[in-house]
């Protein structure tokens, strides 16, 4: 067992999260993908903190949690307001913006 295993796991989770953002059309699911990516980064930070014997990695991870919490509030508020307008949370539904 080596610490690298944690890092590989984090890499996999990060990739899955990014794939979810790119593939899923439901904004809530896509947003959960972003959350997973942030958590993967946190796992990396915590692992490296242990590797370096330096706590700042953990502190950064802590800040990330705070930031993520604020982000979630904003994001979900936006999603809810869109839902109230359209009755859907899909990115595709009635997409008014041409791409």
């Amino acid at each position: 067992m080596s610490l690298v295993n944690y890092l590989v796991l984090a890499g996999i989770l990060f990739a899955i999260g990014s794939a979810a953002v790119l593939v899923r059309r439901n904004s809530i699911v896509a947003f959960m993908g972003v959350e997973l990516m942030l958590n993967a980064a946190n796992l990396t930070l915590v692992t490296f903190a242990r590797m370096h014997g330096d706590l700042s990695g953990q502190v950064i991870a802590f800040f990330v949690m705070v930031v993520a919490a604020a982000e979630v509030v904003i994001g979900l508020a936006i999603i809810v307001s869109i839902f109230r307008t359209r009755g859907s949370a899909s990115l595709d539904d009635a997409s008014l913006l041409k791409s």
Partner: protein
């Protein structure tokens, strides 16, 4: 500083948790119901919390459970319940080939990150025994309030923004006077007195009355035998999950109009089969 020895137990823990977490994460790509995804991700978060603790980050492990699993993911579930609507999602592609492209780039990302960390000649792990001498929370707190104090203060701006934002997107100012139940009732009666519809005065029917179907997805039937659409909750209606009522004529032809027991009165769960 001495090198870090990683216990065999930690290895076992990792190899049990990691596959489960990856499976949970994969639900993001393959599960259809949003709620299922949310719960799986909450599970992944708990797994991460355990890993944090294994990685000598006790404080973070606890914070992870409290903040992520307890607050963030519950907020997600809450919103999913609120939004509810397209809890299932069609997984057909809107842009041809986009999924493959995305899968390919994600795979590439995974391979890249994996290669980067496995091929790097990482330094010998040191461990946090020394850094955590005064207990992990204390050591973390010291850093937060010294090296990272500016970042800490700045997050305050973030939290205020979040609060202001959420409020302005959702809070409605009351325009006009507040309508209480009494004025409402009086207004209704006044309208009735002025020749309005009698149905305005009485309560609206709930769903599934008249015995034959008593589930919430079945509309009520008015005196004329027509379904009352409003009796079903909006959520079910928007989802398209309300059930169609057989027309009064059909039922009358079959010999059991509304209000009379069915020929073979259903019992228990058989009701569903008969509908089908």
């Amino acid at each position: 500083m001495t090198g870090l020895t990683i216990s065999a137990g930690e290895g076992v823990l990792f190899w049990i948790l990691a596959p489960l977490m990856v499976l949970g994460a994969l639900s993001l790509l393959f599960a259809r119901r949003t709620v299922h995804i949310a719960v799986s991700i909450a599970g992944v978060m708990v797994g991460l919390a355990v890993m944090y603790i294994a990685n000598e980050a006790t404080f973070l492990g606890v914070a992870q459970v409290v903040v992520y699993t307890g607050a963030v993911m519950m907020l997600f579930v809450f919103v999913i319940m609120l939004v509810g609507v397209d809890s299932t999602e069609s997984l057909t592609e809107t842009l041809r080939g986009q999924r493959w492209l995305a899968a390919l780039s994600a795979l590439g990302l995974a391979i890249l990150l994996g290669a980067v960390v496995t091929r790097a000649v990482l330094p010998e792990p040191v461990g946090l025994a020394a850094a955590n001498a005064d207990s992990n929370p204390v050591a973390v707190a010291r850093l937060v309030f010294s090296d990272f104090v500016f970042a800490f203060e700045l997050t305050g701006a973030l939290l205020i923004t979040a609060a202001v934002g959420a409020l302005s997107l959702t809070h409605r100012v009351r325009l006009g006077i507040k309508v209480d139940q009494r004025t409402l009732a009086e207004a209704k009666l006044k309208r009735y007195g002025a020749g309005g519809d009698a149905t305005l005065v009485v309560n609206r029917p709930g769903p599934g009355v008249y015995a034959r179907h008593n589930s919430a997805d079945m509309p009520a039937v008015d005196a004329a035998g027509n379904p009352v659409e409003e009796s079903i909750t909006t959520v079910l209606r928007v989802r398209g999950q309300e059930r169609e009522l057989p027309s009064a004529e059909e039922l009358a032809d079959a010999g059991h109009p509304y209000g009379s027991p069915a020929v073979e009165a259903p019992t228990g769960t058989q009701a569903k089969e008969i509908d089908a």
